[in-house]
């Protein structure tokens, strides 16, 4: 029987890791990811899991050790946030190119500078082209579920691509809510045993991992990585369906909220979607056809699903919790590009909100809807929610 616990998002993720019981976890503490590592270290110290934990001296070494471990043939996990992810950056790309199915929760936090330890999505966006699968979660329950889903997905033979599970720093990682935890055996059976095809430790069939790849093959290998992500896109609905069977919770590329007849649609990721849903409900009570699209999957980007969800709507307002300096905000530019082939292009607006952990209020999220209803959206003007100007 699943149990319901009142725990933080960090604890929820740590419980998923406990149930997955990876062979190796190598990690370094960084705010606001630290409690994940701490909870998991306690599980190891108490003998609840027999994972070998490698408490490394930096995130760069965390990702490096994780590559060594996963290449060796072990099911391997780590977790990080913001500047930790930035320090890992070089090896994040290498992990993907070596096709190692590592799972890494990212507790989203502002990427310095100036230094700020609170939540935004600049860290996740910074590695959006690294070749990792990127899943996003609105709350602790989703963070728990996505950690298990990511493990199953990353290890599929046609995918073999590492996966990040994003959850908002402090809001999700440190906020306590009710989380339904599946039975240990159910999770264990769902993720199964990891059987790598070419482990480094297969000494009878020695393999050279991470060779020098010159101009005669580098291109082809990147093409294969692209295929892995395409296959992840194909495999995701299956994995979601399998997960629904054991949990009763239904996931998809996009969380569509009151979208059946929606005319004014907000697109936003992670925890702010909860506030946005509340705002949508308020507008619906007033008879305004508001709706919300929350991508659960950011990479591979569900372009087709976005197009289907937004084609023909009156207005689309995309909210980004990070900036792309000198360019359009990341999520906005992708949604806009997805709508290139729309039969009836909606009006569009781009809004940046909640940087460095700034609070996101319902009042604030009413603004894009009001702009849309008044017909005052400008697709080329980046607007800021809650900015003191």
């Amino acid at each position: 029987m699943p149990t319901k616990l009142a725990i933080t998002g960090a604890a929820a993720v740590a419980h998923a890791m406990r149930q997955i019981n990876p062979d190796v976890v190598a990690a370094y503490p960084i705010t606001p990811q630290t409690p994940i590592v701490e909870y998991f270290a306690q599980f190891v110290a108490d003998g609840v899991v027999d994972t070998v934990m490698v408490p490394v001296e930096s995130e760069h070494s965390a990702m490096s050790a994780v590559v060594g471990s996963a290449a060796a043939g072990a099911r391997t996990m780590t977790a990080t946030a913001a500047n930790g992810l930035a320090l890992m950056f070089e090896i994040v790309y290498i992990a993907a190119s070596m096709r190692l199915p590592i799972v890494m929760p990212i507790v989203n936090r502002a990427l310095s500078g100036p230094i700020n330890i609170h939540g935004d999505h600049s860290d996740a966006y910074a590695v959006r082209d690294s070749g990792w699968i990127q899943l996003f979660s609105e709350n602790s329950q989703e963070a728990y579920d996505m950690t298990i889903i990511a493990t199953k997905l990353a290890e599929r033979e046609e995918v073999l691509t590492p996966a990040m599970v994003n959850l908002d720093g402090f809001i999700t990682s440190h906020g306590v809510e009710g989380v339904e935890i599946l039975d240990d055996e159910v999770v264990r059976e769902f993720v199964g045993q990891w059987e790598p095809k070419y482990p480094l430790l297969d000494i009878d069939n020695p393999i050279t991992h991470g060779p020098l790849d010159l101009f005669d093959y580098y291109f082809e290998h990147h093409r294969q990585q692209q295929e892995g992500l395409k296959n992840a896109y194909k495999a995701l609905p299956e994995v979601f369906a399998e997960y629904e069977k054991i949990s009763g919770r239904k996931y998809d590329f996009l969380d569509l909220y009151r979208m059946e007849d929606a005319e004014y649609v907000m697109v936003v990721m992670n925890s702010a979607a909860s506030t946005a849903k509340y705002v949508v409900d308020e507008l619906r009570e007033k008879g305004i056809k508001a709706g919300l699209v929350k991508p659960w999957v950011f990479t591979p980007f569900p372009k087709k699903e976005i197009l289907e969800a937004l084609d023909g709507r009156k207005a689309v307002m995309v909210l980004d919790r990070a900036m792309s300096f000198g360019k359009e905000a990341p999520l906005y530019s992708l949604v806009k590009s997805a709508l290139y082939e729309a039969k009836e292009r909606p009006m569009m607006g781009t809004y940046v909100y909640g940087l460095g952990g700034r609070d996101v209020t319902p009042t604030m999220l009413h603004v894009p809807f009001e702009d849309a209803i008044k017909g005052e959206l400008d697709p080329n003007e980046e607007r800021y929610l809650g900015l003191k100007e």
Binding site: L200, L212, L214
Partner: protein
């Protein structure tokens, strides 16, 4: 039983080369000797070596996809992280073995290779971390005293007076002015470690140290003086001849620090002046013509003499005092 010639010959007769011919390192390069001797020693002792390498000549010249000169499991990750990478692999080995998931019961030993750039400089943090955590691995540094893979830039290991592209000998400067960073002392100071120097002029001393390192339960480190013939500006056939001179001039003393206990493994009967070593290497040629050359040589001689005296004393006072 230390590894002997017969065991090595057996391996050669079986043609069981862990590191094969066909790599693309320069003729006369000393790095492949280091790789071959170390992996052959491991094999001869009955271990299955699993190798990691930092980005550098050894890596880029032996693993050009789709070819490989490694007949044993091999992993390359990046420049500065071979110690962290191999510590992850070693952790995986412990975990899989513990969980009964390992497909072999043969004894696996982890060996990491790095050049001086990846060890003295950019990789020092990951090496220190891995040694402090006590992973069971042997780190072998092939020290050619510069970033030779990218064309002779200075490293923390480049000696004073050596011409390097990022610290060249010029009108007002005799090239790099600092002495080499003492990497063996740094690693030795981690205490629960076997650390040693070796030289390509003395393969049996090196192989004996490889054996000690492999048998040491925990991290081990060997710094091997291994010339880059190209940028040392020496004839292709003279690498080991030059490193012999390095040992005989006290420039590169052969010693070990076993958990805090110092031991000099080669004590030359007659020492030669440091100038003889400097003059045998082309990359000091510009410094030789520099007005400040004499002062530089005097300083170097004083330094190597003092260091030798210090080593002798350390050997005496640390006798039997294993720290851990």
């Amino acid at each position: 039983m230390p590894v002997n010639m017969k065991q090595l010959i057996n391996l050669v007769e079986k043609e069981d080369w862990p590191f094969t011919q066909g790599h693309r390192l320069c003729p006369g390069c000393n790095a492949p000797m280091v790789a071959k001797w170390a992996t052959m020693t491991a094999k001869a002792l009955g271990y299955e070596p699993v190798v990691g390498a930092a980005t550098g000549c050894l890596e880029v010249s032996t693993t050009i996809y789709p070819f490989t000169a490694w007949n044993i499991p091999y992993i390359h990750n990046a420049f500065e992280n071979v110690a962290a990478t191999i510590s992850g692999a070693e952790a995986a080995y412990r975990s899989l073995k513990n969980r009964g998931k390992l497909k072999t019961d043969k004894p696996i030993k982890f060996i990491a290779f790095g050049g001086d750039g990846g060890t003295y400089d950019i990789g020092l943090q990951s090496l220190s971390g891995a040694v402090e955590r006590g992973h069971d691995f042997l780190y072998i540094l092939y020290d050619n005293e510069g970033y030779m893979n990218t064309g002779n830039q200075r490293s923390g290991s480049t000696p004073p007076g050596a011409d390097a592209t990022t610290e060249p000998v010029g009108k007002v400067k005799t090239g790099k002015v600092q002495f080499k960073k003492n990497i063996v002392e740094i690693i030795g100071a981690h205490e629960n470690v076997y650390a040693a120097t070796a030289s390509t002029s003395d393969p049996f001393d090196f192989m004996a140290k490889v054996e000690k390192g492999l048998k040491h339960e925990g991290p081990a480190f060997i710094a091997v003086l291994a010339p880059c013939v190209r940028f040392w500006r020496i004839p292709e056939s003279t690498g080991p001849k030059v490193t012999k001179l390095a040992v005989e001039t006290k420039y590169w003393p052969l010693y070990e620090i076993d958990r805090g206990v110092y031991k000099i493994t080669r004590k030359p009967r007659n020492f030669k002046p440091i100038e003889e070593y400097i003059k045998s290497i082309g990359r000091f040629r510009k410094a030789l013509q520099h007005p400040e050359y004499k002062e530089m040589i005097e300083e170097m001689q004083k330094y190597v003499d003092t260091r030798w005296e210090r080593l002798l004393k350390l050997e005496e006072v640390t006798k039997g005092m294993y720290l851990r």
